[in-house]
Symmetry: C2
Subunit: 416 residues, 2 copies
Amino acid sequence: MKIRSVSSIEKWILQKIYTSIGRPPIRLALERGSEVGPTDAEPVASVLISDWSTFTRLLLNPEIGFGDGYTEGRIEVEGDLVILLETVLRTMKAYDAKNWKSVLWSRWLERIQANTLDGSARNIHQHYDLTTDFYKLWLDPQLAYTCAYFPTMSTTLDEAQLAKMDYVCRKVRIQAGEKVVEAGCGWGSLALHMAKHYGVTVKAFNISKEQISFARERAKRENLSHQVEFIEDDYRNISGHYDAFFSVGMLEHIGAEHYRDLGRIIHRAIGDSGRGLLHFIGRNQLCPFSPWIRKRIFPGACIPTLRQIMDVFEPWDFSVLDVENLRHHYARTLEHWLSRFEGSEDRVRKMFGSEFVRAWRLYLAGSIAAFRVGRLQLFQIVFAGSECRRIPWTRAHLYTNLSPAVKEQKWIHARS
Amino acid sequence: MKIRSVSSIEKWILQKIYTSIGRPPIRLALERGSEVGPTDAEPVASVLISDWSTFTRLLLNPEIGFGDGYTEGRIEVEGDLVILLETVLRTMKAYDAKNWKSVLWSRWLERIQANTLDGSARNIHQHYDLTTDFYKLWLDPQLAYTCAYFPTMSTTLDEAQLAKMDYVCRKVRIQAGEKVVEAGCGWGSLALHMAKHYGVTVKAFNISKEQISFARERAKRENLSHQVEFIEDDYRNISGHYDAFFSVGMLEHIGAEHYRDLGRIIHRAIGDSGRGLLHFIGRNQLCPFSPWIRKRIFPGACIPTLRQIMDVFEPWDFSVLDVENLRHHYARTLEHWLSRFEGSEDRVRKMFGSEFVRAWRLYLAGSIAAFRVGRLQLFQIVFAGSECRRIPWTRAHLYTNLSPAVKEQKWIHARS
């Protein structure tokens, strides 16, 4: 065997990495060293690797190697980070679920991040209790940390978050006087919106201490404490009987092994006559969720397919009434978040340091890319129990009048 | 053991049957014999059994026993047949999938009615080739034999079938000049509607000889033969490349073991850049489809759950964009069909005899009941390939303008 020069080994490894991500039209270069890139086009962006240790980490585990290398500043991107990630996602095959390294890694993460009652509390604390002041820097004033709904191309983020709240209320057609339960209520914006604009009473559950205390303060300030009760507890401890169940952005955190259990809890809460809505990030095919995101950003996260989510509905004879895929609305929501985040970069750096800024930039940019290319989806599912009498005749009411006061209500009433 | 009198055995069997269907508020009586019924309310309708052989068949297999007994005139219903069936479906548990009799029966039907190429041809011929003149008696003038869409409560059946055709075209946003393939085209109404109102070219497949020749005649008459080609062939033999795939009311006939294969055929037809729509009868939970319907009305039929249908989408990275459950629209469609069918009773009797009239009345009435109570669902699923650039930004366009000419088209275009 011939001993190759360092530069030819470098080149060989670079080619190996480049091929493993599907040879996208980007430039991949070692600082003061070799580079690879498209031969037939201008690269859309460049990735610069500062040292050999980062370089080998990238070879061993491209996703975590890139994520950690970028976070630590050992990898720099020249050009638009979102475009770079979008370009790579388009050429890279979905993270290979059968690869033994992926399987081992995934099992290990599942084990240490398991969503037991304690595990969920730990996982949620790590992300959502980062301090409300941090999220205030880049979310909308309502602090809605989920996909917004943009009725038109000119809708602002603040309007779109309100439009989303209205949209989900109208999808389920909640009525004044009804009782609603919400699982995973964030900073409470939806629960308060429902109470204020739809006249329902709400019990809203969340295991993030910081979010719940913020939500309670807000309810007091807005004189809605008599209508909305914020409960610092796990969704598994929901008790009582309700007309409607909502969960917006919590399903990603509960783990596939708990979907059947979630169905049981929903059925216990709304029986056969209720209805509800699940809003969650989903995917087209079963494969492990981004290992870097799970390791560094969302411990315990699990992104379901529609097939998996049927575990919630099937055992209880719930009818799926409406599924809408809003993934492009999530890409747009994230574009707003990233732009506000960049605008607050200095303040975030003072709070958590520059590695945090870089990691979160990568998380937000990567999410935009994933929703744009369809690696991630955003599903809203409306469902109803087998005895539910409140099924709208068509979906036209969602689009004909965008104020919360829906005058004309047409229900499907049973004949008998 | 005491020997009971005939009447006490009768009573005991009647109670047994009555309990097996969940003790609904109906009266169950043997002519000139015993009867059972609700003790605390007036029965909503009565079932009269004429003889002991029908009676024992009912005990051994309530669904087939009732279906065949009613068909032969050995069982009469006093009161509204739909209300009776709806009442029973509300109290009767879903057909027990684990019962050994059900399993054997289901396996046997699956075997003799298997949807091989030949089997499908036989199964479809048995129902759809009954003669077009028969269907003309009770369908709308377009001969659309699938769930209609009623935008308002006052929409007529004829309008609702047109509205449905428009609705599915707009859900997929087909554009002038595009190529569309339709699997299972019935008498051709949708394919012709698309060509005429949306300016697309269509290849439409169907294995019913009678339907295809009717559709070809109609295309000639309407001068659309240059735009629409009707092909007498199985969906498995679809070739060529298209922008959009449609299947309205065929999935119920292909069998669960063929869903993956259907996905492969769709992917072969539209690739990663196309989109499409599946419209089919579904159910909330997996359990064998009504054995009487499978035996007497729809041989080879199989009603999927949403979970099963994911076999079509998942392997090809198709994104589910929109699922709508229109089961109450199917109940209303069937109400129109049943009422027209009853109005043509004499002519149908002359064509096929009185047992046929009774069997089809039961099939139509039973279907109304099943959709009303949620034993059956009607799903429309819009999906798109991973590279599709024609995803509407919202669904508002479906409701803001009901003419086929949609002027303002907003697409989600990829940035790169």
